[in-house]
Point group: C2
Chain length 648, copies 2
Amino acid sequence: MLQKRYFTAFLAYGGCNLVLGATAAALCAYIAPAAAGSGIPEVKAYLNGVDAYSILAPSTLFVKIFGSILGVSGGFVLGKEGPMVHTGACIANLLGQGGSRKYHLTWNWLKYFKNDRDRRDLITCGAAAGVAAAFRAPVGGVLFALEEAASWWRSALLWRTFFTTAVVAVVLRALIEFCRKGKCGLFGQGGLIMFDLSSNVPSYGTQDLIAIIILGVIGGVFGGLFNFLLDRILRVYSIINERGAPSKILLTITISIITSACSYGLPWLAACSPCPVGSMEECPTIGRSGNFKSFQCPPGHYNGLASLFFNTNDDAIRNLFSRGTENEFHMSSLFVFFIAIYCLGLVTYGIAVPSGLFIPVILAGATYGRIVGTLLGPMSDIDPGLFALLGAASFLGGTMRMTVSVCVILLELTNELHMLPLVMLVLLISKTIADCFNKGVYDQIVVMKGLPFMEAHAEPYMRHLVASDVVSGPLISFSGVEKVGNIVHALRITGHNGFPVVDEPPVSEAPELVGLVLRSHVLVLLSGRNFMKEKVKTSGSFVLRRFGAFDFAKPGSGKGMKIEDLDFTEEEMEMYVDLHPITNTSPYTVVETMSLAKAAVLFRALGLRHLLVVPKTPGRFPIVGILTRHDLMPEHIHGLFPNLRKSH
Amino acid sequence: MLQKRYFTAFLAYGGCNLVLGATAAALCAYIAPAAAGSGIPEVKAYLNGVDAYSILAPSTLFVKIFGSILGVSGGFVLGKEGPMVHTGACIANLLGQGGSRKYHLTWNWLKYFKNDRDRRDLITCGAAAGVAAAFRAPVGGVLFALEEAASWWRSALLWRTFFTTAVVAVVLRALIEFCRKGKCGLFGQGGLIMFDLSSNVPSYGTQDLIAIIILGVIGGVFGGLFNFLLDRILRVYSIINERGAPSKILLTITISIITSACSYGLPWLAACSPCPVGSMEECPTIGRSGNFKSFQCPPGHYNGLASLFFNTNDDAIRNLFSRGTENEFHMSSLFVFFIAIYCLGLVTYGIAVPSGLFIPVILAGATYGRIVGTLLGPMSDIDPGLFALLGAASFLGGTMRMTVSVCVILLELTNELHMLPLVMLVLLISKTIADCFNKGVYDQIVVMKGLPFMEAHAEPYMRHLVASDVVSGPLISFSGVEKVGNIVHALRITGHNGFPVVDEPPVSEAPELVGLVLRSHVLVLLSGRNFMKEKVKTSGSFVLRRFGAFDFAKPGSGKGMKIEDLDFTEEEMEMYVDLHPITNTSPYTVVETMSLAKAAVLFRALGLRHLLVVPKTPGRFPIVGILTRHDLMPEHIHGLFPNLRKSH
């Protein structure tokens, strides 16, 4: 490049990026498609009770880690924060199931998490640890896990996530101390606080409040627009991505070329600026990072746009946040950078590479914050660097709609406690405004991916329906002592995971609801092959003798036993098996005339998977149906009652 | 005092304190007994669903504000933080019910909180605002409200409390700005951060971790001991306080004299120290506050103990936290101060004065932290002032058992983000150790006051019982169209707040559960006096015509309508009234054989007040009983099944 071979330089730069990006995309496309994107929506859905196998599988973990490293080094406009949250959750899941049987990594002492609630808690802790490590913000990690990730909060959960992030903080701190002598590249620099802005009390007056309100409004509008455009782009991408792995890789390559072209081409537009006199920092910088990039400028000069584009993300943010540098960047440079980052951030998210949204959002927000700060410079007492911080806050509030956690994360990133009231205010304004347009970006992605996420509140139209209105499909129930053939048949023809058990004469006087059996438990029981010739109730002692408690525990990743794995002889099919020992005799029930809204609240508040609907009047068969998560989804209800939407 | 009239000086000092203390006690004892103490346990119980009228009454608010001012100025070892939380909750309650009818303060536009959930949310916000104002810690306020106060968390609640505390922060900041010129006494000094310790990165090594662990263990042991002793002392006090207002005042006077004697007498024990050379601050201080108090020392000298005792609480804490002042306090002074504050804090809490626990706990913790810091001084890189901070954290963790909120509050108090990993670690250790001994101090007080607080989890022994086991008392149910006389009789002889409604022939074919009516709704309906001669079902249009939606809304403070207020003629008593229009037809129900643990979880998770128990087998009366909060209390269950405790 020094020899003016610009095109060769571009080829070298773009080529490197392309190879890195294509490798990441290939990993994603062939090994673990679930690793693409941020991962926060998936973790959120999992913690809401959506049990999709691949979300937290070991292969996803592997691709997430290496794909994220390749993606960030490939120069894409994407962050490592979301992937780190997903990585944390994957590691927690791996620990929670006592290792992975598929990959022959198992630890027996870790298998005490074989139930939904403990596993969910562990994965919440993992997500918190991810944020804590990504931003070096332990308290922010706890709050992120509670505000954005978790669907059920408990005091114990708070305490557990706090413990996790405290360990993360101590380990991080120890590693930084260990790396201080430069043994680990850039890692040891800076300490726990990534962008330290702390200073004396910045004074601000009433006129600054107006600036804050303007920033909040801008953040809300840009954030709402960002979510809207992202939704559209993701819909287009999903059509492309459905065509298979090669088109995924091709898309990634296209974006990689566009990104390289932008970051190589745009700095040519900016004029060279003379280095500030008396600055402590080297100018222009020779090494990898630093405040000022030369980029073809004469000695003693630097290129403002290159200082933003040709830099690590962290250093670009540090440049934007830096104080006392009012004139470091030209207005035009900031404008170009903002538009480029906003657009690249939008088109980058959907590609098949692990990609976080935090960094693009913070970069774009900090840029327009600095623009506003520079424009209002003469009227305001606040430094443009602090305006950049407020801009980042407003854009985070506008896209992600988090409040407390963003506030604390920014606080821990910058150590600037004096700005706290202003950050809170700007977050409130931008979130309120953006909420008028659409939902938060993660909620949108959850809906777009078709994950059956349950909101904490019931929808208004549910008040006009009763529980039995939405029960779907033919009801399949077992007798307390059921013929093996019937069970096998039922398991083969349906995908239901829960079946009601009803005692009928002669076992009981009248048909009577005993409870609920889970498919997985029935499969374990069948695999024991202790069948009877007669239809009689047993003492249940066989089950205790034959199985340990962990045999019925929830299998980890891996789908557990399947009905296809079991083969029975004709003779066995005609025999009987007693389901009583494995029946949950206290299932939650609602009467068929219960308001659907109340049933949905019950379902969600208790984190159920099956809710039995029982008849109101006596003398009928003692069960009307089973409500599952899918029966309560808006799509299902609107499908059954198309007129409902119109009346509201 | 300068004229050596020591005894007269003591009389003047002690007398002032005594008058202030006695006035506070009189206010408390005669006007609002509920205003005594911290108020946090009461707010916590209210937010758990305990509906005690006086907890948040306007009279409590009045006494809380003025009693707290008098108590703090009376020199007691107590804080203003707990009372401020209670004050915030009271104000929220007053707003939430649209003012107080009793005191003729009503605003109609505020009455949109006439249901349990919205009112609870508002009061949670009030509590958060209290903490935010007391510590000038807006984020800490949000976390306190969520971790300690609220029993149900929702995303919306987080957002609302965040909004509240953001407003608090902005208003506080504006007031401080306004008062900066000294117009409002000490208020304008210091800005939003009360004890600013920020500095360069304090380095710490492995040997400091050992010191942290020691501090954590000490905090856990002292905290557990504090809670144990406080429980004992409160039990003794409750016997004294039950004798009536005069004994309450007498107790307060005794404690006031003891406190005055301690803070006047103990500084005599300390020797005078020469003022540090080159200090920026005035020494000795003449005014009200400051780092160094002369107290009979020659010019150029100060008395260490007097600097702690004869000071505002804030300044004492600031002295203890101050950095670079290794030798400001003698070891013996710190020991004496610690023992005095620990004991005075214990005996002060139970008196009839609004009294918070935060300040005594922080003072005592900071003192032993400083002692440990001074002892370990040569081995450690951390300043004794920072050890004082860690000591305060450990004692807060040991008594109150909060984690995230204490961590953030301390962070916002001191602006010392670099210490965050250590603060987290020390909190974890002290909480874990103290949890081995007993429960948190607020939980203890809730239990001691007999408030029926429901834990989020079910107790293990509940798994061995079923729902119908704990249903108590005779069941009183109404017909769908019931005789007025029967209703009036039932309302007079029982205190139940909910009654099941059962349709019987000829209204329905067989006895059938319609739903649940609330006492308050029945009273409103009866006051309409639209009775019928015949037992027939109506269309319900009368109710819509006669009443507005707000007539049935939950009354605010004030107990609402009473059955004694209604008088009916003999003729009216023989007539019928249709209860269908006011019946909740979708009450939550459980089958009688439902595990009690599951019923309790349902009750708690949904925040119910009544849970209907229905029979399992058909052909019986369609309702077995009603479970209320009191039926699920451990005391009630252990009363019914005394053997249960032994088996566990």
